[in-house]
């Protein structure tokens, strides 16, 4: 187990470094940061000056290494627009996005796991079909459009929920639904497939033959085993949701990391964009690492491979 964990950890660190290099090069090579900073009315001399002051005239690799060195110490530089420490701004915005992501994941699991279990108990019946169509519809629903529909009905027509901001927990309901709905199909399908497989296994038959109550068999014996891959998937999906929350946060004006990313893109705030991409990528890497570990811990076969 330790050997496996160390190996996975090494890969995770290598992936993080590669991501940092790719994002740094992507953002530095596709645009001219000095030109973006200087604005449209700047002269050639102004741009040259900015290039020098910010160190954009140094060789590319030197810039990357110095940026990475600082980033490893938690220093992502200063925002071009806000003129404050990038790290502190991100740190301030991060909890909001985490809360949103957590609520969205909670919603997704509450909806998809029961549906998946129901579909697996009664495969190829009307229940199964309904669950499947919810999944199919969910995959095709554009999240921004779904969010606007929610706003229209729950926010404006029925005046049930606030439509912008983060003032109270009620502000998080619609964004969580809009963000979480998108991952429901994947979780539901996996729950259903896992349950179908487990329910057909020998130990379930034994449990039933022993005369255990159906509820006990279903939840204590079957679901417990079927849920393992779902937990791993949920961790990975949580990482995806943090990255995807940019659309939802923009629509609901939620002051999280996604909204910050969108603002920074509008302002061509390069240090901020870089840092946000890297932070989100690292979250994803950590979550997949944890999911791998969980899987390996619960299923010894994986460790050997």
């Amino acid at each position: 187990m330790l050997h496996y964990a160390l190996k996975r950890l090494g890969v995770a660190i290598l992936v993080a470094l590669t991501v940092s290099m790719v994002t740094f090069s992507l953002l530095h090579l596709t645009g001219d940061p000095a030109m973006a900073l200087a604005g449209e009315s700047a002269t050639e001399a102004d741009i040259e000056n900015i290039r020098h002051v910010y160190g954009y005239d140094r060789p590319f690799l030197v810039q990357y290494v110095s940026w990475l060195g600082n980033a490893l110490r938690g220093d992502f530089g200063r925002s071009h627009y806000l003129k404050t420490e990038v790290a502190s701004v991100i740190f301030k915005r991060l909890p909001t996005t985490m809360i949103l992501g957590g609520c969205a994941l909670g919603f997704a699991l509450l909806l998809s796991i029961p549906l998946g279990v129901l579909a697996a108990i009664r495969p190829n019946t009307i229940v199964d079909r309904i669950a499947l169509s919810i999944a199919v519809v969910g995959q095709a629903l554009p999240s921004f459009w779904f969010a606007l529909i929610l706003i229209f009905w729950f926010g404006i027509e029925w005046r049930l929920l606030p439509i912008t901001g983060t003032a109270s927990w009620r502000n998080f309901i619609m964004p969580s639904v809009a963000l979480g709905y998108y991952v429901t199909p994947a979780v539901m399908r996996l729950t259903r497939a896992g349950m179908l497989e487990v329910l057909a296994s020998d130990y379930i038959r034994t449990a039933r033959a022993k005369g255990l109550r159906p509820g006990v068999v279903l939840f204590k014996h079957a679901l417990r085993n079927a849920i393992i891959p779902v937990v791993a998937l949920a961790a990975v999906q949580f990482g995806f949701m943090l990255g995807g929350s940019i659309v939802i946060e923009t629509i609901f004006a939620i002051n999280g990391l996604g909204f910050l990313a969108w603002e920074s893109i509008q302002r061509a705030d390069l240090p901020m964009m870089q840092a946000i991409v890297l932070v989100l990528a690292c979250f994803y890497i950590v979550l997949t690492f944890l999911a791998d570990m969980l899987n390996a811990f619960l299923d010894p076969r994986i460790r050997v491979a």
């Binding site: 890969v11 290598l14 992936v15 993080a16 590669t18 991501v19 790719v22 994002t23 992507l26 953002l27 596709t30 645009g31 973006a36 199919v136 519809v137 995959q139 095709a140 629903l141 554009p142 999240s143 921004f144 459009w145 606007l148 529909i149 706003i151 229209f152 404006i156 399908r189 996996l190 259903r192 497939a193 990482g239 995806f240 943090l242 990255g243 995807g244 940019i246 659309v247 923009t250 996604g258 990313a261 969108w262 893109i265 509008q266 061509a268 964009m273 946000i276 991409v277 989100l280 990528a281 994803y284 890497i285 997949t288």
Partner: protein, 308 residues
Amino acid sequence: MSPPSAIDAATTGTIASAAQILEPSPAVLLRRRVFGHAGITIGATVLLVIFVVALLAPVLSPYDPLAQDLTQRVIPPVWHEAGTWAHPLGTDQFGRDYLSRLMYGARISLLIGFVAMLISGVIGTTLGVAAGYFGGRVDMVVNFIITTRLSMPVVLVALAVVSLVGNSLWIVIWVLGLLIWDRFAVVMRSSTQQVRNLDYVAAAKALGCSTVRILMSEIMPNIVNNLIVVATIEVAHAVLLEAALSFLGLGVQPPAPSWGLMVSEAKGMMFFDPWLIGIPGAALFAMVLSINLLGDGLRDVTAPENRN
């Protein structure tokens, strides 16, 4: 010329019953499964309609999608009391005919969806097949590249790059194509792993076929089913991503009638004229849903073992 003899009749009879006893050919079976599948029928029909409308948009659309008429602003669709048949789906805040914009919008969505899928398909399939066939170190490297790509948030990276490079239709297509190849790579890798140790591949190797030939005429034909399924799913994925980018103002630029952009432009008016966001959103939903139904259906029919 003698009349048909009893022997002739007996022979034809035997042939007919032999044909009845024999199983229908695989092609016939496949055709039956395809046309008997509700998802495929519905998905393909809707998609075909959208495709024809997009193709014939210049002929079918009643107006120029970009022509503004400030005397005809925000006319509701025909099913409203104030609606008129002159503009069946109404007009937007600049007096542009919504039906015409919707038709031309289908062209943008389909173009971006297909071309981005082709780009990502070439990248992902190359990586996936190479990893699956060669295994070992190649597999390790490709796996690493896939993991790296998966850790980068797609929407965010696409937005950032588009905002820096400048946005045009083709830049959006290329950025999406270069970003969404991960599913191709993952599925092609595992599909190749499944067939690479089969007897016919070993036979081709024993015959001394070149690697390229083995990949092209032994491996590819046997994984093309899965390739088609992923390709459909990725068209839908690219269409949704383009709409999201355009919605956020960093995809297709105005005045082009992208559906995502139409929703975005009408956002401020949704309180009074909700159909302005309802119509393009519903069109987007219908297109993605039909592509997904087709993709799911094709998977059921061609590779039932991959169903989940």
